[in-house]
Symmetry: none
Subunit: 217 residues, 4 copies
């Protein structure tokens, strides 16, 4: 079967990817407010004007990162279900905690950027595009939840879907609120135990007991 490639579509896809990647890289290095379109253009090796052919503005780029990043995460999760051999509630819990560890390790930036949505991103990002993305996310989460409840008896779809929101909230909250002993990535010479938090440990702990509760284990 011959593969029909739409060249211009492919090129456009590549460009948006390059721009998003450049912006993603920068947010790991520089505070959001200090990132400029010029920086993003330089990093992505495209002209500044090109960015505006693909994104409405800076906020739009980061909103796209949020959505695509999270989609990437949950699509991987969906694929992982097959290999996971989940049959009991315990399997399910283990699976979701493993996914949480993955989220902490590889998707913290994406989850963290979500913090900007209320104060910055939503105000300027493209409404339609964003909502479409969210619908895709919801549909994927829905599929995942359905697959999981089919594999494990006596579990509510609604509860599983909801758990993903809680999972993200927990990680986002810990990233923002914990570790107040760190200022601008530099640890402070002040002893404040119990403020310091190992995000992975804490996230899996909190989400673990949440799962226990909703799975009635």
């Amino acid at each position: 079967m011959p593969r029909t490639t739409n060249n211009s579509y492919d090129r456009a896809n590549k460009r948006t990817f390059k721009i998003r990647s450049a912006a993603y890289e920068l947010i790991t290095e520089i505070p959001f407010a200090d990132i400029t379109m010029t920086m993003i253009a330089e990093r992505a090796q495209v002209a500044k004007g090109t960015i505006f052919n693909y994104f409405k503005n800076k906020e739009d780029i980061f909103m796209a990162i949020c959505i695509n990043g999270y989609l990437h995460y949950i699509e991987r999760m969906e694929a992982a279900i097959e290999q996971a051999q989940i049959t009991t509630k315990s399997d399910l819990k283990e699976f979701l905690l493993a996914q949480t560890r993955l989220q902490v390790r590889e998707y913290s930036v994406v989850i963290l950027i979500t913090s900007l949505r209320r104060f910055s991103l939503e105000v300027h990002a493209d409404r339609e595009q964003t909502l479409q993305g969210r619908v895709r996310i919801y549909a994927t989460l829905d599929r995942i939840a359905n697959k999981l409840v089919q594999a494990v008896p006596d579990v509510d779809v609604e509860a599983v879907r909801h758990a993903f929101i809680i999972q993200g909230s927990i990680l986002n909250g810990l990233l923002n609120f914990a570790n107040m002993n760190i200022f601008n990535n530099i640890e402070c010479p002040i002893e404040m135990p119990s403020v310091t938090v190992d995000i992975e440990v804490e996230a899996t702990h909190l989400f673990g007991i949440y799962l226990d509760d909703i799975l009635k284990m």
Copy 2:
């Protein structure tokens, strides 16, 4: 002992309060990036230059709001302990959940602003001032935790102090990550159950099971 009032000190205090209040009001109306020093000055009814006598920059103001707002919350909590008549773990849990409801209802904005700390505030805010504030917060939380463990047997100070971090993280995370069906304060015409969240219900639920866990109830 007669209290010597220093007039200029009082006036300065009033000014910082006016400026902070103006900024607080604005953040409930306008996205952070769109708030200008001119707006804050007008709202606070001071000259733009005056602001810079009291705050290093815009980020400094909002960092101060974070810290003072949270201090305000926990100082009220400290005062509330006396009236609360806490003697059992169950009392303790109820007290902390009541405090959580208060946090949701009256301090959501303060908790939400914390989302900006990593990406904006810390980068420009005054380091020393901020750390001093955090130390004050820690000291207050420490006093509170101690008072509580003295009232209730068999509870770890460390665990209680830590619980406050988790409490804030939960609220912050839910505010940021939940309710993705809302875009720019406008609800979307897309049905996505389990994404929609009643913050107060969810926060008390999650924090409740966390307390059950750490209090071993």
Copy 3:
């Protein structure tokens, strides 16, 4: 004699016409500075790049509109002479006033665009093209003037040719300078009689007494 139609020539003509028409439409809706090549391309249903095959730049398009529009007007006038049955000075005056009414009613936009020539059009438009157009205009006016003086005794060709310049100047001037009670097409709630002007009445009045003068009536 059979006319050999050159297809590509016809197509090119059609294109320039489509582009000019699109630009003409736009200038009746949007201020010159706010009209973009993209808008013109969309309206003309051609690619942006195509425009540049036919016109040097934006100013060139509007210069072409000026020249072609005015040519259109005077070529119609030339054709109208035959039907007009002009034999006396009075006939001539009536003919020219009727033509002035036509100019006001159907060519105001063209005359108005001329206002841009000094400040915008000439600076960027194609010099040779423009001058060629003006020579064509002059030639046509010359033919018209000659036809008219042949029909009416005791009238100077030079004076008639010159009258057309005055005619255009009067209309252009009134369009620009009169009706200062209107701002951005919206009438102002300020009573300023004698500022308000019925362009057609005023133009024919002023041009009428001018004709009386040069025709020594």
Copy 4:
């Protein structure tokens, strides 16, 4: 009597004047569209940002030039009435023609800029400011007209006020529409008599016969 000078008011006035003057100079050298705010700032020796403290945008500056320039002209005219010793219709006509010569010689640029009002200035200039200016103009013209009709019997105020509109229209029209043998300030090597116009001669001629008509001379 001590003169009370409001320093900040004076300084502001000086600034607006400097900025307007710079813009006026530039428009005599460079086409409107090519004048940038940077150029104006440099010429006026103020910071770019300063301009925006006094004017909304580029169009606003040129609208102010139009209005202030014309006001300057008619205020001089008002002052000139006293010295003029006007008692007859003939005196009145001579006075107005002399004023027209002055307009041609010293205010052509101002009158010419008016050509931009429809296509550029009004769309972006400050509405209120502009209308206020026009009201001032109208009031001055009204005073002038009244003074003149008091001096000369049997002349209609309305007609005189209206004549000023016609005067400006004539000059504006001639500046825009005549001399099509000149392209971009360079005369063309094409012989087109009757297109070439001596603006001053033509304007006084046309306005002269208009005055004859309305004064019934």
